[in-house]
Amino acid sequence: LLSIILLSYWTKASNLHAQQKLNFLASLFASQLAALGLGLLLLLEQQRSLKPSDLASLYLIASILCDAVYMSMPLENARQTSTSHPVFFRCFIHLALLVLESRTKHPAFGTVGKDQSPEELYGVLSRILFMWINPILLRGYKNVLVDKDLPSLSRDIKPEFTINAMLQIWSRRG
């Protein structure tokens, strides 16, 4: 909400050329609609999902990269001096949201989700960068790992699932 108010204020206050203003307004309109959708999505994800939202994370990364490129362009070519503040603000807010959204949720759930694998509970960034394994490595650094320290397997590599798959393939051979 704060982002929308400030961006609207800055756009009204800025002295842009007509074509550039139209272009910036179109981008701003799409961004504001997406911000409203993002708020709704994050609220529902908090209430109804055990893992961080992949869609929200990917959108936030794409938006941050676009804003970073926009801000890194030479000022005399882009003529974006009057829009650099709101874009920087948007980038900053999106970065804060990405950091918060990338954090795992399962400690807040108590016993819910304890039997699920960390890969299923972490977000897309943690899965790509294998950050989900860091708590296990840290635990192993502090103490000797025992059976109960090891996390559950994900559903598709659990023995109950793999044995059925193996038996199906074996029966097809026969």
């Binding site: 981008s27 709704l40 999505l41 529902l44 926009y70 362009m73 900053f92 899965r127 790509i128």
Partner: protein, 111 residues
Amino acid sequence: LRKASFLVLLISAAVPKALAMASESAYTVNTISATFSATFLLLLPLRLWKLRGSGFRRSVNWQGFTEAVGFPSLFSILFLKLMILGSWNIALNHTVVILDESFKSSCSAEA
């Protein structure tokens, strides 16, 4: 999913930077940004529909809510304090210097 996400990340990083080199760079980046927002808005109903059917329910966690609202608000306040008020002060100082110089030049012209 991991490969697709990695591809999206690569495209997100490479395409805007490559197109930013073009002559209408600000226009291009704004268009790409708007395209990402539109794609997000197109995919949003699918995800919301999926969440609507989720069997898992949880009440709002006030600690998480405070973190989610408090940290961005704190960052915003710091941003406003450091960037905007700072730039206003610089602009004000610049105006004072210009006024001072014009006053001095007018005085010397009168003399």
